[in-house]
């Protein structure tokens, strides 16, 4: 069972890397979300998958009897899911704001904070201070 899950983690990571390497911001976001899910599945697999009793201590007993499933990965994954979810929510809102500000989802064309490459054409919303000051560096883009 672990080996199947391990292969699944590998496929997820491969998909995530493929998506993150794209220039489209939305694809990158999807890739990151798949990557964080892969990490969660990886922790789950590292905790070993067992078919024993659930890790619940019966009433009036201090220590459970027999072998129980490992409860720690659940706690780790729960923490990681909550954190990953909140970070991803923030990143999505930021992507939306980025699109609204710069009118592009192409991360290569986002050059507001940095000067554009020599000769690079940048959508008018995404051009930075440098370009504002020095029109020679940035050819006009027809809207």
């Amino acid at each position: 069972m672990e080996s199947i899950l391990a292969i699944a983690v590998g496929i997820l990571v491969a998909c995530a890397v493929f998506l993150i390497l794209a220039r489209d911001l939305i694809r990158i976001m999807l890739g990151v979300s798949i990557l964080s899910n892969a990490a969660n599945l990886l922790i789950f697999t590292s905790g070993r998958v067992t078919r024993d009793a659930p890790p619940i201590v019966p009433e009036n007993v201090a220590v459970p009897e027999g072998v129980i499933a490992n409860p720690l990965p659940q706690a780790l994954i729960l923490t990681a899911i909550v954190i990953g979810f909140s970070l991803l929510a923030f990143a999505l809102v930021l992507s939306y704001r980025a699109f609204a500000t710069m009118r592009t989802v192409d991360v290569d064309a986002m050059r507001l904070a940095e000067p554009p490459y020599p000769g690079q054409q940048v959508p008018s919303g995404a051009a930075g201070r440098q370009a504002d000051r020095d029109p020679a560096r940035l050819p006009e883009v027809a809207e």
Binding site: V32, L35, S46, A80, L87, L94, A113, G128, R133
Partner: protein
């Protein structure tokens, strides 16, 4: 009582952040709380520092769960020094923010986010559990996401996208590395890992995990070739925010790197140390060359920040006690100087109303004190004696020569020279030269006299810069105490048996 002080770097900022949130609609109350909170934080950490300095390593188990099952907090010389610097910079930035942060950012939650950032940084320094370290990283990261986009200016959104994406990927990689390490060893406590890892049968797997950790921490610490998010984003937020980022965030990555690779992955030294040396040299040189090429003052400083990380890395990568001591000395110096430089650059940019070297100028004539402060701190960064940047570079070069690593020594010296050039260039172009004609023509001759800052704001922002400049002079003139401190911290890292036995109790020996 000492057990309580260990939680101080986390507890006090969290309580302050909570109080700031309760007074959400009252920025004036938040301002007082923020100042008070950082002052209390600094006082408590200094007390903890004294305890650790006289009594040695201390550890405490949260919730009374015994190690290695519960979450451990440990204070050794390194972690408590870093926590003390966090509090010092926190206090400085809290004062600086009074004159810099502005009403919009304040009413959108600067103070609670700033305190949450301090809590995350402090927690990452104090924890003795690798998963808990991940959690504090995330607390720090999410607070920094809020801070870097706070105010929502157009450039901030662009810088924020790059910062957020790279940090998201880095923390996910860290989580994967932690998951794999847990799968291989079955424990998450750093001291316990230090015992389990050397005797582990599958060292090849552990080397792969170590490489993943190295990758994740290197992304956090802005190491070549994973540094490019830093100069893309650090110049965009308010000056107070970039000052605290420059001082602390990359250092947390460096700290985690030092901690994990001195304590857990000792058998893989040769591989990781070779990687660290090469990455360190590349980071140093690329950083300083980037700094020379840039126009925006804070972007110049961002590249210099990257270059400084390279210095720390070569100290770690040399693998000797002297090299490590030099790296730790450099870390202390770099935290102080970098935050001071970002602060004074922020003041200069606001006074001149322009960020770029082309538009700045004439500041020496109108504001000689600001120009002198910048000059002073910049020379310290460049390593001019008797300021604090001189000694760690001497130690690092000495350590490199002692291990016959001549290329490392040469790279460090070249970088030092180029840093001097880049700082001199900034000073000459931004402060010394006359105000450029096109700026005078556009804004009128009076721009520098009033700027956008009132006298009171100028005093508030320059006070912490002056204190930090004094600190860099003092640790330059009286280098011996800090050197002793660095050597002791390095010794604790290399001979880590006391750390393990303190955390795990008697059975660790």
């Amino acid at each position: 009582m000492i057990a309580w002080l260990l939680f101080w770097p986390v507890l006090i900022p969290i309580l302050t952040a909570a109080l700031c949130l309760i007074f959400w609609t009252r920025p004036d109350v938040q301002r007082t709380l923020s100042l008070l909170g950082t002052a209390v934080l600094a006082a408590g950490i200094l007390a903890l520092f004294r305890e650790v300095w006289t009594g040695g390593i201390v550890s405490v188990q949260a919730g009374d769960w015994p190690a290695p099952f519960g979450i451990t907090f440990v204070a050794d010389t390194l972690s408590v020094t870093m926590a003390a610097l966090t509090a010092l910079i926190g206090l400085g930035v809290a004062v600086y923010a009074l004159g810099d942060i502005g009403h919009v950012r304040e009413s959108n939650g600067f103070h609670p986010l700033f305190q949450a950032l301090l809590a995350g940084v402090g927690g990452a320094f104090m924890t003795g559990d690798i998963f808990n370290m991940y959690v504090w990283f995330e607390v720090m990261v999410i607070a920094s996401f809020g801070l870097i986009t706070l105010g929502g200016e157009r450039e901030q959104i662009d810088g924020g996208v790059k910062y957020v994406l790279l940090n998201l990927i880095a923390t996910t990689l860290l989580l994967m590395a932690i998951g794999l390490l847990y799968g291989a060893t079955g424990t998450l406590n750093l001291a316990d890992l230090a015992q389990v890892v050397p005797g582990h049968p599958d060292q090849g797997l552990l080397t792969a995990i170590a490489a993943l950790f190295l990758l994740a921490f290197a992304m956090k610490a802005a190491v070549f070739p994973l540094y490019f998010w830093l100069p893309a984003s650090y110049h965009t937020p308010a000056a107070a925010i970039s000052a605290v980022f420059a001082a602390l965030l990359t250092k947390v990555g460096v700290y985690a790197l030092i901690r994990v690779f001195s304590l857990v992955f000792t058998p893989t030294h040769e591989f990781t140390y070779a990687v660290l040396l090469v990455a360190g040299i590349a980071t140093m040189l690329v950083g300083v060359l980037g700094a020379i090429a840039q126009d925006d003052v804070r972007r110049v400083l961002s590249f210099n920040l990257v270059s400084g990380i390279g210095f720390i890395l070569i100290g770690v990568g040399l693998g000797t006690a002297l090299g490590l001591a030099g790296a730790l000395y450099y870390t202390v110096h770099h935290i102080i100087v970098m935050s001071a430089l970002f602060m004074v650059a922020g003041v200069a940019q606001r006074l001149a109303g322009a960020p770029g070297l082309n538009d700045l100028g004439g500041l020496y004539l109108k504001h000689p004190w600001i120009a002198l402060l910048f000059f002073f701190v910049a020379m310290s960064l460049a390593g001019v004696p008797p300021l604090s940047g001189f000694w760690p570079k001497v130690i690092l070069v000495k350590a490199a020569l002692a291990t016959d690593a001549y290329i490392v020594a040469a790279a460090a010296l070249v970088t030092g020279l180029l840093t001097l050039y880049s700082m001199a260039k900034v000073w000459a172009l931004a402060f010394w030269k006359a105000q450029p004609d096109h700026v005078v023509a556009a804004a009128g001759p009076g721009i520098l006299e009033t700027g956008e800052m009132s006298r009171g704001e100028q005093r508030l922002t320059l006070l912490p810069v002056a204190v930090l400049a004094l600190a860099t002079l003092l640790i330059g003139l009286y280098a011996q105490p800090l050197l002793t401190l660095s050597e002791r911290a390095a010794d604790e890292l290399i001979n880590h048996q006391p750390y393990i036995s303190t955390v795990l109790g008697g059975e660790g020996a």
